[in-house]
Point group: C2
């Protein structure tokens, strides 16, 4: 361990100090959330996106794929793949819309809803753990402010999810 004048694990306080910027914090926040719930979901062969898809479908049964994707901020192709997977697993059903045969009507199967209910307490626990550092009163405040930020800026949302954009346009060879 080189322990001269090098960098060690910065203390939590140091991290708190340095990251008092809303942007990086938003990233960390999401990352921490993912860490918590991924663990809770792993035993069910689920991940956060899949689970939120189940929840969304529970709340808006009969929604079509495009709108579902929009609701979750996931692109149409990816939603298609996810729906495909969940369909294969018998967790959701996909029917052709009666009035618009292009669209696919989605809803939870009883198996899917059972799984959702089975997972729910684990999610609530993870959520509680995330909020644990706040007092109940602070939680309300925090949620309200967070909601306002998100809703007010919804139109500026990145459509494309979390992947980095392509940076090197083509560069056929050398650096």
């Amino acid at each position: 361990m080189r322990n001269d004048e090098e960098y060690e694990q910065p203390t939590k306080a140091a991290i708190a100090q340095r990251h008092r910027k809303i942007g990086p914090l938003s990233r960390r926040f999401f990352q921490v959330y993912l860490g918590l719930i991924s663990e809770a979901l792993a035993p069910f062969e689920m991940d956060p996106s899949f689970y939120s898809l189940l929840v969304e479908l529970h709340e808006r049964p009969g929604i079509d794929q495009r709108r579902l994707g929009e609701a979750l901020g996931i692109d149409r192709t990816t939603i298609g793949q996810m729906v495909d997977e969940l369909d294969h697993r018998g967790l959701i059903s996909r029917k052709v819309h009666a009035q618009d045969r292009r669209a696919r009507i989605l809803s939870l199967t009883s198996k899917g809803d059972a799984l959702r209910l089975q997972i729910r307490p684990h999610m609530l626990r993870a959520q509680a753990q995330l909020e644990a550092p706040l007092t109940p009163e602070e939680r309300g405040t925090f949620l309200e402010l967070l909601t306002r930020i998100v809703v007010s800026n919804l139109d500026k949302e990145s459509t494309g999810g979390f992947r980095r954009r392509k940076l090197r346009p083509k560069e056929k060879g050398g650096g």
Copy 2:
């Protein structure tokens, strides 16, 4: 437009209502942030991760790759690739550590720092836009609570970034 008993764009209020859960909000929050700054960074052939790398390097010059990755919550391989890219573009320098020849000492070049400074006002503007829905006082509150949540939960952070976990173990054929 099928406008009978189908789903239209839910109103912002409806979204606010439905998403009063901290987890999904954290995702939206980050997504909104990405949307805002990606736009600001695109002219510079940068993306949020790259820019935050430049900033981190400005604040901790001489850091090595592994620690840089940890600081940003990015895995070692990905950091290596990013560093490679930025090195090629002449924005950072990479030297072998004098005491530990395994490690690579990273720092901004003057070109890299100039780019960082050029981008900074755009980032600040994006940040301001993100925070705009809050009053100055609320901003302070929000940042404090957010910081507390993140710092308290740092140990539960997902190491692996934002990609979904592998779900289908192998499935060599039919579902």
